[in-house]
Symmetry: C2
């Protein structure tokens, strides 16, 4: 670390860890989380008792500056929240409950200690909401950008785990919530950033964000669908389950490939918010493309028999049927009734960069 | 990712993950690892059964290019090995057995697919040697340097876990192996890099590495002390336990602070290899400083009663007594008998950068 960030150099790694620990001194509303945690931050590893009769779920996801986020329009609090949500959502996508997390963070010298605390505050907020605990981590300097890498352990009964490979021909294909809003929110943020950069009087620049609030929130502070895990627990048997982090098209292909089945989905059934349609129109783009290829929604995509769907429908109105599992081929039926193969697409880190630099 | 690395762009994230998976298709010599793993790479999270009656240990450690390693003299295979060893060592430092790992890797465009495979090969080699399994991960592009972040789960019986806070006045302070060799090896690598850069005929440059082999190996391919966990299991009761990743001085202070005790260690008792002394001499530096502040050794530092030590001494000759736990103050007794407070020191990422740029 160069001398640019005197503050971080002065306090050093151990004081930074002390400050982070005090930010994380929270009490989620789930006593077993605490009684089962024997040692949290402050030793070589955290120690916890797994719940008897349950299997453990283990996942990791990293967020990289310039690839997943742009600090000119993402607050550190939002970033901490989102990095944690992405991992929590992976546990939920196995039909599990998130439990314990670690955060490894690589900090460039433009980031000051209070900003690191904000980032952990955001992550802690997500943990509080989804009843999990940050029990360890690693802080290092970075000579590139900011990188935050979360690892998360969850758990559930073995018979409740759901995989990508559980889809069977004839099942309904369902999604939760609305799709495409996250990428729509990002488009707005990128546009306002460009306007700001081109603005002659930067100190008086006011970004036009208010009308797009719903989409911006979906991009900056997405929710994970733990509510669905609670619903599934009510004796509802789902087939395949995955979360939509890379876009509907990509995730549907994952399910079909792993389950060795096909799918037919109907464009007019894909749930899209009004504001997402408006934003797509402003950019002369198709809202369906946002929904199919946008990603970072953390909604769920799952398959289910007609009978099981009837049970779900009595418990929530936030699930939409978008098509049906078939023997083979992944087909999109367009608004005009035309059928065509659904391109794999999706957000692939090595083929396209999300944030235009 | 820019167009510089066409190969990675062409194959895309999913093909890269497929290649990584095939590198990881290994069979460590530990059947329960496999029978308890229900799902590895290829879903949103890995699924495994925790061993009955055992607690889980959970840790994470990141390696950052330009901070922890320099790719001009570190092969990707060595890097993968070391990143995994650092985490395995953290589990061992709790007196536990490593079990399941995830790797999140951020890949800059100068890194080609076969290099990524090499990195995983190194990590897999470490896993094979220490009987753990890579069960998941995340691959992203990086616009900065290469970053590898490992998270690891281990386990042991609750009564066997050892903490930093278990030291009691009167106990002996012991270390395994030899100290200072890792930083000595790094010094040689850095010197040869400078020579190479200054060399007019680079194609014929031959670094002088052979005489320093032992120190270079300690730096590039350190071992974790799982053998000590096996020895401790033979009814030997240790007090505090920590691994030496940040240097002896720093780790001793950790133990003393957490246990609310002091320590007196004797300079002439600190085990240092001959080659480390030779290298220190070449750089006009003190070998004791390498041992106290060098770090990245992954040896163990622990406290133990005289009686328990007698038991250990019959099982291994690779443990050295370096001093004794006291009521307060951390004191170094120098070769000449003079006593002075031991500075905290150690390698702190935000106060000094290991790799000089």
């Amino acid at each position: 670390m160069t001398s640019e960030n005197k503050e971080l150099e002065q306090i050093g790694e151990f004081e930074l860890i002390r400050r982070i620990s005090s930010v994380l001194d929270i009490i989620p509303d789930d006593p077993p989380l605490f009684t089962n945690l024997i040692k949290g931050i402050s030793d070589d590893a955290a120690v916890f008792r797994p719940s008897p009769e349950k299997v453990q779920l283990f996942t990791t996801d990293a967020f990289v500056e310039g690839i997943h986020f742009d600090l000119t329009f993402t607050s550190l609090k939002h970033l901490g929240w989102k990095a944690m949500i992405a991992n929590i959502s992976d546990i939920i996508a196995m039909n599990g409950i998130p439990r314990y997390a670690t955060i490894a963070i690589s900090i460039p010298n433009k980031i000051f200690p209070h900003m690191v605390e904000e980032l952990y505050q955001g992550a802690a907020n997500a943990c509080r909401k989804y009843s999990c605990l940050i029990v360890g981590g690693d802080t290092t300097a970075s000579i590139g950008g900011l990188i935050i890498s979360v690892a998360l352990i969850g758990e559930t009964e073995e018979q409740n785990v759901r995989y990508r490979n559980g889809a069977k021909p004839g099942e309904l294909i369902c999604v939760t919530g609305h799709l495409g809003s996250s990428i729509a929110g990002l488009k707005i943020l990128e546009r306002e950033k460009k306007k700001y950069e081109a603005s002659p009087d930067k100190s008086n620049f006011k970004p036009a964000l208010e009308p797009y609030k719903l989409a911006l929130e979906k991009h900056l502070m997405p929710k994970a669908r733990l509510d669905m895990v609670q619903i599934f627990k009510k004796n509802i048997n789902i087939g395949a389950l995955i979360d939509i982090s890379d876009g509907l098209a990509s995730e549907l292909h994952h399910i079909c490939e792993e389950s060795n089945v096909g799918a037919k989905i109907y464009e007019h059934n894909i749930p899209i918010e009004t504001i997402t349609g408006i934003i797509a129109q402003e950019f002369l783009e198709q809202p369906t493309d946002y929904a199919l290829y946008g990603g970072e929604e953390y909604e769920l995509l799952f398959t289910i028999s007609d009978k099981e769907y009837e049970k779900i429908a009595t418990l929530t109105d936030d699930v939409t049927i978008i098509g049906r599992v078939t023997e083979k081929d992944v087909i999109l039926v367009q608004e005009n009734g035309e059928e065509s193969p659904l391109p794999w697409g999706g957000y692939d880190h090595f083929k396209s960069k999300r944030i235009s630099k």
